[in-house]
């Protein structure tokens, strides 16, 4: 029988110190299948978390289990886990294909299967043509893709990707994001760190925001945003009579600010309860009091959440 914890990545009170320096502190996390993004400024602890998950680092305190497997058991762990690190280095003199095949052989695959898996991975990252060239001669984007191919070659069910979109041109970026979505749809766990917030926002099922080694928020972006009561939600409404709408909504206790747009064709409001506000707006429209052209949340995205929770302290995002 499959235990529920065998489907999750679990951090149990994990701390990591580099001597006196804090890596991450008191991390408690449960990560379900889908795309989970780790977001935070440089030095927030994103790579440390990933390295802890894969046994490249060992926690000073706490335990980590990936689908029920201890990170101390690489033989079992890396049959299920693939990790694309940020280390932009390769064994000397290898070609892309040799890199994939040799480490598939080390993992125990037979030569024929290793060759097939390597080819499949190369196809997935569009590197077949360059497969027999030395990795040392690859461009930055190609090196990123060969690392990605190395991480997915053995068909893992958990894929950990440290800044996987770095160095990729826009076309390849969108192809890679599509690949991530496809893998997530197949039921894989994808844990991705990135500092490009709009891309994270676009592809993630949930985010983990880190700052100075601590988790400051986690969950669905909108869920996290909803819980930030100290930062009322901003909504822009384009309508035929913004002044009337302003006087109407301002009477509500959850609306803390209403401001006319410069062109006087719309209204910015700030509310502590977006759901109640949308309900109110529906009533106003139903009663024929105003005609609405568009409604758009202004700060219900990862950038806003990041800005509110972390601000410019890190500067990476």
């Amino acid at each position: 029988m499959t235990h529920v914890n065998d489907q999750l990545i679990i951090f149990n009170d994990v701390s990591k110190f580099y001597g006196e320096i804090l890596g991450v502190n008191r991390v408690n996390l449960q990560i379900a299948p889908g795309i989970t993004s780790l977001v935070g400024p440089n030095g927030a602890g994103k790579s440390t978390l990933m390295n802890l998950m894969t046994g490249l680092l060992r926690p000073t305190k706490g335990t980590i289990k990936i689908l029920g497997i201890s990170v101390d058991d690489p033989e079992r762990l890396f049959r299920k886990v693939g990790y694309c690190t940020q280390f932009d280095s390769f064994p000397r003199g290898v070609t892309g294909r040799e890199l994939l095949v040799s480490f598939l052989l080390v993992a125990g695959f037979k030569r024929k299967q290793a060759n097939e898996l390597a080819l499949q991975a190369l196809e997935r990252v569009n590197l077949v043509e360059a497969a027999d060239r030395k990795v040392a001669g690859y461009s930055k984007g190609m090196r990123q893709r060969i690392r990605l191919a190395q991480a997915i070659a053995h068909e893992p069910v958990v894929l950990i990707l440290d800044e996987p979109l770095n160095g990729l041109d826009p076309m390849v970026r969108s192809e890679t994001i599509a690949l991530f979505r496809k893998l997530a749809a197949e039921g894989l766990h994808l844990i991705i760190s990135s500092h490009i917030l709009h891309e994270v926002d676009m592809m993630s099922d949930r985010v983990v925001l880190l700052n100075n080694g601590y988790i400051v928020a986690q969950g669905n972006v909108h869920g996290v945003r909803d819980e930030m009561e100290e930062h009322p939600m901003q909504i822009f409404i384009r309508c035929d009579n913004p002044s009337k709408l302003a006087s109407f909504v301002f009477a509500q206790d959850h609306v803390v600010e209403a401001r006319l747009n410069e062109d006087r064709g719309g209204l910015f409001i700030k509310t502590r309860d977006a759901d109640r506000f949308y309900l109110l707006l529906n009533q106003a429209v139903a009663n024929g009091e105003i005609n609405i052209e568009a409604v758009a949340p202004v700060d219900d995205d990862l950038s806003a959440v990041y800005q509110y929770l972390i601000g410019n302290s890190g500067g990476a995002a």
Binding site: E75, G82, S89, P91, F103, L105, G108, E155
Partner: protein
């Protein structure tokens, strides 16, 4: 679990999987050891004893000793102990085995192994075996070729008889065996040093001094060295000079198993060390 990895886990026992993984690691590492950027120095070290012997083959020294066939075995014993064993095999093994892990850390490529579905202890065994094969091929080659190079050019027919019908072949095999044992012992030591110490040159120099000063040590301390056991196996005893503290040579039936046992213990320490090793290239 993916279909690809299911085939590994279902198809075989752990031991056959480990053997295949060790084979893959050995092949990968041997390629680096023999053809990698760091291999040039190894070839240079291995060829070092052949150069003076080549010169001696071309330019025969004027002294009468060089015309005495029987004198050559004593000369080779000293040449082997002083240059081949204590210098070539020692520093050759230091370079090969320390770089098995330290070289990967310097090149920032160790994480590829650590992120593979292979036990780290299996990785230690695979890397050690690759180093051992490399060292044995090169330094046993040096041992054999240098012995032949000493005898054949000046006493060809006598030497051929000596190696085919006389004691020569046995001597040759014994020296080759000592070289192999030296590679096993020094190899394990330097593999561990490469795992524990950031700058392995210092412990290498300390051990080198300890091994050279072995002749001055009291009998009990002599036994805490590799060279004591290797010297005990030498087919032709060599005088260690007037200041040497004489100790009974250890019989082969004790010397060989003792070295093997120590090697296994040292490799177990290496396995334990690597199991808990972190990859933090920045701090290395």
């Amino acid at each position: 679990m993916s279909a690809a990895t299911e085939t590994i886990s279902k198809q075989e026992s752990s031991s056959s999987l480990w053997l295949r993984q060790i084979g893959a690691i050995v092949r990968l590492e041997m390629e680096k050891n023999f053809f990698g950027r760091r291999s040039f120095l190894i070839y240079l070290i291995a060829l070092l004893p052949l150069l003076p012997l080549l010169v001696l083959a071309i330019v025969v020294p004027p002294s009468n000793e060089w015309r005495d066939f029987n004198w050559l075995s004593g000369f080779y014993a000293a040449f082997y102990g002083g240059l081949i064993l204590r210098t070539v095999v020692f520093f050759g093994c230091a370079w090969i085995f320390m770089n098995l892990f330290r070289g990967e850390i310097v090149d920032r490529s160790l994480h590829y192994y650590f992120l593979s579905a292979v036990r780290r202890e299996v990785l230690v065994v695979g890397k050690y075996l690759s180093g051992l094969i490399t060292a044995i091929v090169l330094f046993t080659g040096t041992t054999v070729v240098s012995l032949l190079l000493l005898y054949l050019p000046r006493f060809y027919s006598q030497s051929v008889r000596y190696f085919i019908e006389g004691q020569g072949f046995k001597q040759l095999l014994t020296y080759a065996g000592i070289t192999i044992l030296a590679c096993i012992g020094y190899g394990a030591f330097f593999l561990v040093v490469g795992l524990f110490v950031r700058n392995p040159i210092i412990p290498a120099v300390v051990l080198y001094g300890w091994e050279w000063l072995n002749f001055l040590l009291p009998p009990l301390l002599k036994k805490i060295s590799v060279i004591h056991y290797l010297n005990s196996l030498a087919p032709v005893p060599v005088s260690e000079g007037p200041f040497a503290v004489v100790a009974e040579p250890t019989p082969a039936w004790i010397a060989i198993p003792s070295m093997m046992l120590v090697t296994v213990i040292v490799l177990a320490i290496a396995g334990r060390r690597i199991k808990h090793m972190e990859v933090r290239y920045g701090s290395d």
